[in-house]
Symmetry: C2
Subunit: 133 residues, 2 copies
DNA sequence: AGCTTAAATAACCAAATGACAATACGGTTA
DNA sequence: TAACCGTATTGTCATTTGGTTATTTAAGCT
Protein backbone atom coordinates (compact mmCIF):
# COMPACT_ATOMS: atom_id res chain seq x y z
CA UNK A 1 0.00 0.00 0.00
CA UNK A 2 2.47 2.59 1.25
CA UNK A 3 0.51 5.75 0.59
CA UNK A 4 3.59 7.78 -0.33
CA UNK A 5 4.97 8.42 3.11
CA UNK A 6 7.18 11.08 4.59
CA UNK A 7 7.94 13.41 1.73
CA UNK A 8 4.47 13.68 0.36
CA UNK A 9 2.97 13.89 3.79
CA UNK A 10 5.12 16.75 4.95
CA UNK A 11 4.61 18.63 1.74
CA UNK A 12 0.88 18.34 2.04
CA UNK A 13 0.79 19.55 5.57
CA UNK A 14 3.05 22.43 4.81
CA UNK A 15 0.77 23.45 2.01
CA UNK A 16 -2.27 23.24 4.23
CA UNK A 17 -0.50 25.21 6.90
CA UNK A 18 0.53 28.06 4.65
CA UNK A 19 -2.76 29.90 4.72
CA UNK A 20 -1.47 33.05 3.19
CA UNK A 21 0.87 32.01 0.47
CA UNK A 22 0.17 34.36 -2.36
CA UNK A 23 0.66 31.75 -5.03
CA UNK A 24 -1.92 31.89 -7.74
CA UNK A 25 -2.36 28.15 -7.84
CA UNK A 26 -1.83 26.07 -4.76
CA UNK A 27 0.20 22.92 -5.08
CA UNK A 28 -2.33 20.21 -5.87
CA UNK A 29 -3.04 17.60 -3.26
CA UNK A 30 -2.79 14.07 -4.49
CA UNK A 31 -6.02 12.22 -5.04
CA UNK A 32 -5.07 9.67 -2.43
CA UNK A 33 -4.48 12.34 0.14
CA UNK A 34 -7.72 14.12 -0.60
CA UNK A 35 -9.61 10.88 -0.33
CA UNK A 36 -8.05 10.11 3.03
CA UNK A 37 -8.86 13.52 4.42
CA UNK A 38 -12.39 13.34 3.10
CA UNK A 39 -12.76 9.92 4.63
CA UNK A 40 -11.92 11.21 8.06
CA UNK A 41 -14.46 13.95 7.74
CA UNK A 42 -17.03 11.51 6.45
CA UNK A 43 -16.71 9.52 9.65
CA UNK A 44 -17.83 12.57 11.58
CA UNK A 45 -20.53 13.54 9.13
CA UNK A 46 -23.22 11.47 10.75
CA UNK A 47 -25.29 12.47 13.77
CA UNK A 48 -25.47 8.95 15.12
CA UNK A 49 -21.72 8.51 15.09
CA UNK A 50 -21.28 11.91 16.69
CA UNK A 51 -23.67 10.88 19.40
CA UNK A 52 -21.71 7.71 20.06
CA UNK A 53 -18.41 9.55 20.19
CA UNK A 54 -19.94 12.13 22.44
CA UNK A 55 -21.03 9.43 24.82
CA UNK A 56 -17.59 7.88 24.81
CA UNK A 57 -16.24 11.18 25.96
CA UNK A 58 -17.58 10.24 29.37
CA UNK A 59 -15.33 7.21 29.29
CA UNK A 60 -15.39 3.62 28.11
CA UNK A 61 -18.86 2.20 27.49
CA UNK A 62 -20.31 -1.15 26.53
CA UNK A 63 -22.46 -1.56 23.45
CA UNK A 64 -25.63 -1.91 25.47
CA UNK A 65 -24.86 1.23 27.41
CA UNK A 66 -24.38 3.03 24.15
CA UNK A 67 -27.61 1.61 22.80
CA UNK A 68 -29.47 2.94 25.81
CA UNK A 69 -27.74 6.30 25.77
CA UNK A 70 -28.27 6.88 22.07
CA UNK A 71 -31.71 5.32 21.83
CA UNK A 72 -30.76 3.55 18.65
CA UNK A 73 -31.07 -0.07 17.65
CA UNK A 74 -28.32 -2.43 18.68
CA UNK A 75 -27.30 -3.47 15.16
CA UNK A 76 -27.13 0.15 14.21
CA UNK A 77 -24.82 1.02 17.07
CA UNK A 78 -22.70 -2.04 16.38
CA UNK A 79 -22.30 -1.12 12.78
CA UNK A 80 -21.28 2.43 13.52
CA UNK A 81 -18.83 1.22 16.13
CA UNK A 82 -17.40 -1.16 13.60
CA UNK A 83 -16.77 1.53 11.01
CA UNK A 84 -15.39 3.87 13.63
CA UNK A 85 -13.06 1.12 14.73
CA UNK A 86 -11.76 0.17 11.34
CA UNK A 87 -10.73 3.79 10.94
CA UNK A 88 -9.13 3.96 14.34
CA UNK A 89 -11.48 6.43 15.97
CA UNK A 90 -12.48 4.03 18.73
CA UNK A 91 -10.80 1.15 20.50
CA UNK A 92 -12.42 -2.10 21.53
CA UNK A 93 -11.80 -4.16 24.60
CA UNK A 94 -13.61 -7.39 25.21
CA UNK A 95 -14.28 -8.57 28.70
CA UNK A 96 -16.31 -11.70 29.06
CA UNK A 97 -19.54 -11.23 27.32
CA UNK A 98 -19.24 -7.49 26.95
CA UNK A 99 -17.47 -5.31 24.45
CA UNK A 100 -16.22 -2.02 25.78
CA UNK A 101 -15.47 0.82 23.45
CA UNK A 102 -13.48 3.93 24.05
CA UNK A 103 -12.06 6.87 22.16
CA UNK A 104 -9.08 5.92 20.04
CA UNK A 105 -8.27 9.23 18.42
CA UNK A 106 -8.49 12.32 20.62
CA UNK A 107 -8.21 14.65 17.66
CA UNK A 108 -11.89 14.07 17.16
CA UNK A 109 -12.72 16.48 19.93
CA UNK A 110 -10.45 19.14 18.57
CA UNK A 111 -12.44 18.93 15.37
CA UNK A 112 -15.77 19.11 17.15
CA UNK A 113 -14.61 22.05 19.20
CA UNK A 114 -13.51 23.89 16.12
CA UNK A 115 -16.84 23.27 14.46
CA UNK A 116 -18.81 24.27 17.53
CA UNK A 117 -16.77 27.40 17.97
CA UNK A 118 -17.32 28.31 14.36
CA UNK A 119 -21.04 27.83 14.73
CA UNK A 120 -21.16 29.88 17.88
CA UNK A 121 -19.27 32.82 16.43
CA UNK A 122 -21.41 32.68 13.33
CA UNK A 123 -24.59 32.74 15.37
CA UNK A 124 -23.27 35.54 17.48
CA UNK A 125 -22.61 37.48 14.32
CA UNK A 126 -26.13 36.89 13.08
CA UNK A 127 -27.44 37.79 16.49
CA UNK A 128 -25.61 41.09 16.34
CA UNK A 129 -27.09 41.80 12.94
CA UNK A 130 -30.55 41.34 14.40
CA UNK A 131 -29.77 43.44 17.45
CA UNK A 132 -28.67 46.36 15.35
CA UNK A 133 -31.89 46.69 13.42
CA UNK B 1 -35.78 29.15 13.06
CA UNK B 2 -33.86 30.28 16.11
CA UNK B 3 -31.93 27.11 16.77
CA UNK B 4 -31.97 27.50 20.55
CA UNK B 5 -29.37 30.19 20.99
CA UNK B 6 -27.01 31.23 23.74
CA UNK B 7 -27.82 28.95 26.61
CA UNK B 8 -28.02 25.78 24.63
CA UNK B 9 -25.05 26.72 22.53
CA UNK B 10 -22.78 27.45 25.44
CA UNK B 11 -23.85 24.32 27.21
CA UNK B 12 -23.07 22.25 24.17
CA UNK B 13 -19.66 23.72 23.72
CA UNK B 14 -18.84 23.34 27.35
CA UNK B 15 -19.80 19.73 27.16
CA UNK B 16 -17.67 19.17 24.11
CA UNK B 17 -14.78 20.99 25.74
CA UNK B 18 -14.86 18.99 28.92
CA UNK B 19 -12.90 16.04 27.61
CA UNK B 20 -12.29 14.53 30.98
CA UNK B 21 -15.46 14.95 32.89
CA UNK B 22 -15.91 11.70 34.71
CA UNK B 23 -19.65 11.68 34.31
CA UNK B 24 -21.02 8.31 33.39
CA UNK B 25 -23.40 9.71 30.86
CA UNK B 26 -22.61 12.86 28.97
CA UNK B 27 -25.32 15.43 28.60
CA UNK B 28 -27.07 14.56 25.36
CA UNK B 29 -26.70 16.87 22.43
CA UNK B 30 -29.93 17.89 20.86
CA UNK B 31 -30.79 16.30 17.56
CA UNK B 32 -30.76 19.67 15.86
CA UNK B 33 -27.30 20.39 17.11
CA UNK B 34 -25.95 17.01 16.07
CA UNK B 35 -27.41 17.42 12.64
CA UNK B 36 -25.82 20.84 12.24
CA UNK B 37 -22.42 19.61 13.31
CA UNK B 38 -22.68 16.58 11.06
CA UNK B 39 -23.69 18.84 8.21
CA UNK B 40 -20.55 20.89 8.54
CA UNK B 41 -18.42 17.80 8.47
CA UNK B 42 -20.36 16.46 5.52
CA UNK B 43 -19.38 19.52 3.54
CA UNK B 44 -15.75 18.62 3.99
CA UNK B 45 -16.26 14.93 3.39
CA UNK B 46 -15.80 15.15 -0.35
CA UNK B 47 -12.48 15.21 -2.20
CA UNK B 48 -13.76 17.52 -4.89
CA UNK B 49 -14.94 20.11 -2.42
CA UNK B 50 -11.67 19.84 -0.51
CA UNK B 51 -9.83 20.41 -3.73
CA UNK B 52 -11.86 23.52 -4.43
CA UNK B 53 -11.32 24.89 -0.95
CA UNK B 54 -7.67 24.11 -1.21
CA UNK B 55 -7.45 26.09 -4.40
CA UNK B 56 -9.24 29.02 -2.84
CA UNK B 57 -6.57 29.08 -0.19
CA UNK B 58 -4.38 30.72 -2.79
CA UNK B 59 -6.91 33.53 -3.01
CA UNK B 60 -10.07 34.41 -4.86
CA UNK B 61 -10.66 32.43 -8.04
CA UNK B 62 -13.19 32.47 -10.85
CA UNK B 63 -15.21 29.41 -11.71
CA UNK B 64 -13.24 28.76 -14.86
CA UNK B 65 -9.99 28.97 -12.99
CA UNK B 66 -11.31 26.45 -10.53
CA UNK B 67 -12.47 24.21 -13.33
CA UNK B 68 -9.00 24.23 -14.82
CA UNK B 69 -7.25 23.75 -11.50
CA UNK B 70 -9.45 20.90 -10.37
CA UNK B 71 -9.87 19.26 -13.76
CA UNK B 72 -13.55 18.78 -13.17
CA UNK B 73 -16.53 19.67 -15.30
CA UNK B 74 -17.92 23.18 -15.05
CA UNK B 75 -21.39 22.16 -13.84
CA UNK B 76 -19.78 19.99 -11.24
CA UNK B 77 -17.67 22.79 -9.88
CA UNK B 78 -20.61 25.16 -9.96
CA UNK B 79 -22.76 22.79 -8.01
CA UNK B 80 -20.16 22.27 -5.33
CA UNK B 81 -19.59 25.98 -5.08
CA UNK B 82 -23.27 26.46 -4.69
CA UNK B 83 -23.57 24.05 -1.80
CA UNK B 84 -20.46 25.44 -0.18
CA UNK B 85 -21.96 28.89 -0.49
CA UNK B 86 -25.35 28.08 0.93
CA UNK B 87 -23.53 26.84 4.00
CA UNK B 88 -21.32 29.87 4.22
CA UNK B 89 -17.99 28.23 3.48
CA UNK B 90 -17.32 30.37 0.44
CA UNK B 91 -18.28 33.85 -0.66
CA UNK B 92 -19.24 34.95 -4.14
CA UNK B 93 -18.42 38.17 -5.91
CA UNK B 94 -19.59 38.89 -9.41
CA UNK B 95 -17.59 41.12 -11.69
CA UNK B 96 -18.78 41.49 -15.21
CA UNK B 97 -19.10 38.13 -16.75
CA UNK B 98 -17.11 36.33 -14.11
CA UNK B 99 -18.00 34.97 -10.71
CA UNK B 100 -15.22 35.05 -8.19
CA UNK B 101 -15.28 32.80 -5.17
CA UNK B 102 -13.28 33.03 -2.00
CA UNK B 103 -13.08 31.44 1.41
CA UNK B 104 -15.92 32.50 3.68
CA UNK B 105 -15.12 30.51 6.79
CA UNK B 106 -11.47 30.29 7.81
CA UNK B 107 -12.18 27.59 10.36
CA UNK B 108 -12.07 25.16 7.48
CA UNK B 109 -8.31 25.23 7.48
CA UNK B 110 -8.11 24.66 11.19
CA UNK B 111 -10.10 21.52 10.60
CA UNK B 112 -7.92 20.37 7.74
CA UNK B 113 -4.79 21.01 9.74
CA UNK B 114 -6.11 19.02 12.63
CA UNK B 115 -6.94 16.14 10.35
CA UNK B 116 -3.61 16.27 8.58
CA UNK B 117 -1.73 16.42 11.84
CA UNK B 118 -3.65 13.46 13.13
CA UNK B 119 -2.85 11.48 10.02
CA UNK B 120 0.80 12.37 10.22
CA UNK B 121 1.19 11.37 13.84
CA UNK B 122 -0.66 8.17 13.18
CA UNK B 123 1.58 7.30 10.28
CA UNK B 124 4.62 8.15 12.31
CA UNK B 125 3.38 5.79 14.98
CA UNK B 126 2.91 2.99 12.48
CA UNK B 127 6.28 3.78 11.04
CA UNK B 128 7.85 3.38 14.46
CA UNK B 129 6.12 0.07 14.91
CA UNK B 130 7.68 -1.15 11.70
CA UNK B 131 11.11 0.23 12.60
CA UNK B 132 11.13 -1.65 15.88
CA UNK B 133 10.66 -5.07 14.36
C1' DA C 1 -30.16 43.23 -32.42
C1' DG C 2 -27.10 38.91 -32.75
C1' DC C 3 -23.02 36.31 -31.22
C1' DT C 4 -19.87 34.66 -27.68
C1' DT C 5 -18.40 33.46 -23.31
C1' DA C 6 -19.14 32.46 -18.19
C1' DA C 7 -21.94 30.48 -14.89
C1' DA C 8 -26.09 28.36 -13.11
C1' DT C 9 -29.76 25.18 -13.37
C1' DA C 10 -32.44 20.92 -14.78
C1' DA C 11 -33.05 16.27 -15.57
C1' DC C 12 -31.20 12.10 -14.97
C1' DC C 13 -28.25 8.03 -13.55
C1' DA C 14 -25.16 5.17 -10.69
C1' DA C 15 -23.08 4.49 -6.50
C1' DA C 16 -22.81 5.01 -1.63
C1' DT C 17 -25.06 5.34 2.78
C1' DG C 18 -27.76 4.47 6.86
C1' DA C 19 -31.64 2.24 8.82
C1' DC C 20 -34.22 -1.96 9.99
C1' DA C 21 -35.37 -7.07 10.49
C1' DA C 22 -33.67 -11.40 10.85
C1' DT C 23 -30.02 -14.21 11.82
C1' DA C 24 -25.51 -15.86 13.35
C1' DC C 25 -21.75 -15.80 16.60
C1' DG C 26 -19.43 -16.18 21.12
C1' DG C 27 -19.05 -16.36 25.89
C1' DT C 28 -21.30 -17.35 30.40
C1' DT C 29 -24.07 -19.93 33.32
C1' DA C 30 -27.17 -23.63 34.58
C1' DT D 1 -25.13 -29.76 26.70
C1' DA D 2 -28.66 -26.34 26.56
C1' DA D 3 -30.34 -22.00 27.37
C1' DC D 4 -29.27 -17.26 27.63
C1' DC D 5 -27.24 -12.95 27.01
C1' DG D 6 -24.60 -9.39 24.55
C1' DT D 7 -22.63 -8.42 20.19
C1' DA D 8 -21.76 -8.87 15.21
C1' DT D 9 -23.24 -9.73 10.55
C1' DT D 10 -26.20 -10.23 6.55
C1' DG D 11 -29.79 -8.97 3.32
C1' DT D 12 -32.74 -5.62 1.85
C1' DC D 13 -34.70 -1.22 1.43
C1' DA D 14 -35.21 3.91 0.81
C1' DT D 15 -32.62 7.93 0.62
C1' DT D 16 -28.84 10.73 -0.42
C1' DT D 17 -25.09 12.05 -3.09
C1' DG D 18 -21.91 13.16 -6.75
C1' DG D 19 -21.42 12.98 -11.41
C1' DT D 20 -22.91 13.56 -16.38
C1' DT D 21 -25.31 15.88 -20.50
C1' DA D 22 -28.26 19.27 -22.08
C1' DT D 23 -30.25 23.62 -21.49
C1' DT D 24 -30.85 28.25 -19.66
C1' DT D 25 -29.55 32.61 -17.85
C1' DA D 26 -26.75 36.63 -17.93
C1' DA D 27 -23.14 39.75 -19.22
C1' DG D 28 -19.80 41.50 -22.62
C1' DC D 29 -18.79 42.59 -27.52
C1' DT D 30 -19.38 43.84 -32.68
Amino acid sequence: MNHKREQTVDTTIDVLRAHNTSKDTAAPLSDEMLELIAQRFRLLADPMRLRILHQLQGGEKSVTELVQATEASQPNVSKHLSTLRTHGLVKRRQQGNLAYFSIGAPFVFDLCNTVCDSMRTEWERKQNLLDNL
